[in-house]
Symmetry: C2
Amino acid sequence: MTLPGSPAGDTRRRPRRHDPGRRTRILDAALDVLVEHGLAGMTHRQVAARADVPLGSVTYHFAGLAELRAQAFARFVELQDAAFESLFDGIGTRDEFVAVLVDLVHASPARRRSAVLGFELHLAALRNPELRVLAEAWTRSSQAVLARFVGAEAAVDLDELLEGMIMHALLAAGPRSREAVRATIERAVEPAGRGGGHVRAHGL
Amino acid sequence: MTLPGSPAGDTRRRPRRHDPGRRTRILDAALDVLVEHGLAGMTHRQVAARADVPLGSVTYHFAGLAELRAQAFARFVELQDAAFESLFDGIGTRDEFVAVLVDLVHASPARRRSAVLGFELHLAALRNPELRVLAEAWTRSSQAVLARFVGAEAAVDLDELLEGMIMHALLAAGPRSREAVRATIERAVEPAGRGGGHVRAHGL
DNA sequence: GATCGATGTGTACATCCGTTCTTATCGGAG
DNA sequence: CTCCGATAAGAACGGATGTACACATCGATC
């Protein structure tokens, strides 16, 4: 349609040019849209608007919506893996370990983004083989980090427990008290009920 | 299915009429579509096709897509609540209780539907207040059932653990062995590590 | 049996979406 | 400096979707 702003010969094209890193910016924008509107609401146009680029730019950098989704999730896993890893960097005692886990569950506004994206990925992976391998790799990686502190078998249990706790914390009106969360996690970290032999064998 | 009702007339209209219970059939069809194609793929036409009714019938019985979604989820919670309740009907011993939980986690093709719908609801509830109250009510109800066997505080823990285990069982390539699942659940059911005093106080 | 509301059925339409295509412009290789 | 590939930008198109609507038909009520 005719824009009322251009009388004659007025090229309204954006002057924007030479935007390196635009590709990853689009991916981050896609993740933003994903958090806000869900997988159903993640469209080319929404992502383009969020990244402040024209529609054609999104379709140029990514072959299709499926590829955009896959690469966005891949970027999420990559970033999340690193962040999760670094969470446990200076951990020396069992109490510090537990404290990190408690913080993980207690959904801060910052953590909410990661949690939502994680569940969005899990659900999408149920119907998409490519995303499924991504989700599995992510799970393995997370459990490997936990396994450094509690052992391989307990790491699986702990991972599953954390997943459930985070989900419930996300949508519960009033989240559980820190003490309750801590008590539950402590129990899961030291399942033997006897002294921490199991744990100590892995460094704590 | 063209019935020979009108010999010469070429009225292609469906002869179908007087279909009580069509409304709930549409809701069940909506849940089927939801499981198969996700929230994004649940459209008026998909649901209509699944329920074998014309498009107009769906828009007649439900004011909009949002109402259809909400009522479908409501029906799911209603049915799931009853099913979950009846799962624990004749439970007399702690071992029976644990066995039911292990079956719950080990995703049979039949349980997969419920699990997928549950997670779909949880994710949708993150962005829809109406669905959020529904999800919260469902969680409360489930925990109330569990609480009859393990007490209120432990029921919350157990519910969260089950949620995580079910999710992982859904998308893990090779699910965990029944023994591993059983061991984890047993530990969660009897968290005290000392005799089953806590449990016994609630009937087992 | 006539009437009327409830329900069933098909169609039209505006909107949005994914994708393709054309054109413009920058940056770097030669 | 020249040229060309890579990238940016906007337009266009076919298809799908939600919704509104117009018409048909059954069943209950009198």
